[in-house]
Symmetry: C2
């Protein structure tokens, strides 16, 4: 067994298929040297996944790696950025080669799919956790931010909502499902979300604001409202639910509440001015991802939930790591 | 007490004095948006500090923050890069405001000194650890790497070596010092090393290779030798020792061995071709940092330690987190 951290790094992290021309110097020096295309801004995001907080210590390393990288790429997607590079800080109690091999399998599979090169990082001893910093490019002035929305803009979400929370409930033993195939599908959705990278890029000139749903729709939409000084109306009947979620939670209210609060969906929530509504479908046609209009921005503050035009008084909370 | 991670972030990390013009969008969106100067390469480095591995959980947060940022800036220094931005991933068991306040004090003091802007990060619940990713600029083709050295080049180190290990020994109770002032000075050196940022920049056109001493001179110099396919001779009598180290460890052999193996020094080790030797002093004059020639590169492999021209058979080991 490799007992030296440098050997570990060399052995597992220097073997990658991606070799970008904008990386003159990658792993193995004090810094990576990188080249940003002229006319592009650099988009950078950092996320940590901690064992016991974001995943169970005995979770499949392939899935953990996918989730870690997918959640970071999702932040690039939400800016409309094209992924390029990633740094990995991996802390583990001991050099566990079988774990590392599987982690690399999940990590590099997703990295290669998006042509993302691992350019550096750190391997340290301690409680299991993963911190990634992803870098991408966005043409000057075209980034999707949280503050560009206006009253009257329509609120869209990609894909379906709620599956991740349902999968987590199965994983934590909070829900017993007789249909084992359904249970496994939902757990898979929880871990193996696909970042909406192409969708984000396609929305650059269509959406007025965007973010990814990592803490739950109502919680995340709140960031756009706060940044833009606006209120929102969500028509809950329009929320896109998967057949699996409906089978998991046949009580419609609970399925909709899951859709409103489920974190780690890594779908995009974005706003579209009236004049761009017709462009949404065209823009997304080549991405294979659906988008559903679920509401509208209004003057004021806060989120109103409507069903058949009538307000609902559901008490919902977004996910908060430090909440009691 | 703020119990919500977003409040915590807003409260402590959005209050910084540095506000760079190359940061169109910093904390508060899915990504930061950043602009690299045309003609510059981006230098990026990631380092983690884990409680129990790199610092004691009850260590002064001001010092922990300084050490975390200084060690990262030291990687930029070793490339000859000018620091610009940093991302911070902070994992802590609970939102500890007094700890955060002190951490920010140490962090922003050093960040402001080098005009480094905190542009993003993540705050998560879990065992205490800090992962930083620093970004800097270096003019195209002028970065100092580990692989540019040639046989005959002279080996230099900045400052003094060994103080950090001596300070750590005091901190861990492995050394009892009657002189409390001396003990405190050494502990301070362990935590409050100054990254050699200006020195690294000044060496861009002088040094053939460079790195920072984070694992001990013999261990780190080994990286240059490996990358360059060379051997080295170190004349141990030339190693620069502080008066404090000599007072701490009056046995000369032990002081020299500390100087050869002390990690987390964050001094630079660099190599200089014969024709550039005269330029070293001039280049460093404005930086206030001394440099000492301690040896020379030779054909072959490995490191030979000489005293008065005679080989020493000291068995030394660099610091390795996973070593038994």
């Amino acid at each position: 067994m490799a007992s030296n951290e440098f050997d570990l790094i060399a052995q597992y992290f220097e073997r990658q298929a991606v070799n970008r021309s904008d990386v003159p110097l990658a792993i193995g020096d004090d810094c990576a040297l990188l080249e940003v295309p002229v006319g592009s801004q650099l988009a950078v995001s950092t996320d940590s996944l901690v064992a016991g907080t974001h995943f169970l210590a005995d979770a499949d390393p392939v899935r953990v790696a996918h989730k870690a990288l997918a959640s970071n790429l999702s932040d690039l997607a939400a800016m409309g950025a094209t992924p390029a590079w990633v740094s990995l800080a991996l802390t583990m109690p001991e050099p566990d080669e079988p774990w590392l091999a599987k982690f690399c399998e999940g990590f590099f599979a997703l990295a290669e799919y998006y042509n993302v090169q691992l350019v550096g990082g750190d391997t340290t001893k301690g409680p299991l956790s993963i911190t990634l910093t992803v870098h991408g490019f966005v043409p000057q002035g075209q980034a999707l931010t949280r503050y560009g929305a206006s009253s009257g803009d329509w609120i869209y979400v990609t894909g379906n909502l709620g599956d991740s929370a349902a999968g987590l409930a199965v994983l934590l033993g909070q829900a017993e499902l007789e249909d084992k195939q359904l249970a496994e599908t939902l757990v898979e959705r929880h871990f193996m979300a696909q970042p909406r990278v192409l969708t984000g890029q396609a929305l650059r000139k269509v959406a007025s604001a965007a973010l990814d749903i990592s803490d739950g729709l109502v919680s995340d939409l709140g960031h756009i409202l706060k940044r833009s000084g606006l209120a929102a109306v969500i028509e809950v009947d329009k929320l896109p639910l998967s057949p699996e979620l409906k089978a998991f939670e046949p009580l419609q209210d609970k399925a909709l509440q899951l859709a409103l609060t489920s974190g780690e969906e890594y779908e995009l929530c974005f706003t579209v001015p009236e004049q761009n509504r017709g462009a949404v479908e065209t823009a997304l046609a080549h991405t294979g991802v659906s988008a559903t209009c679920v509401g509208q921005l209004r003057p004021g503050s806060g989120i109103t939930l409507l069903r058949d035009g009538n307000p609902l008084d559901w008490q919902l909370q977004g996910y908060d790591h430090f909440a009691e």
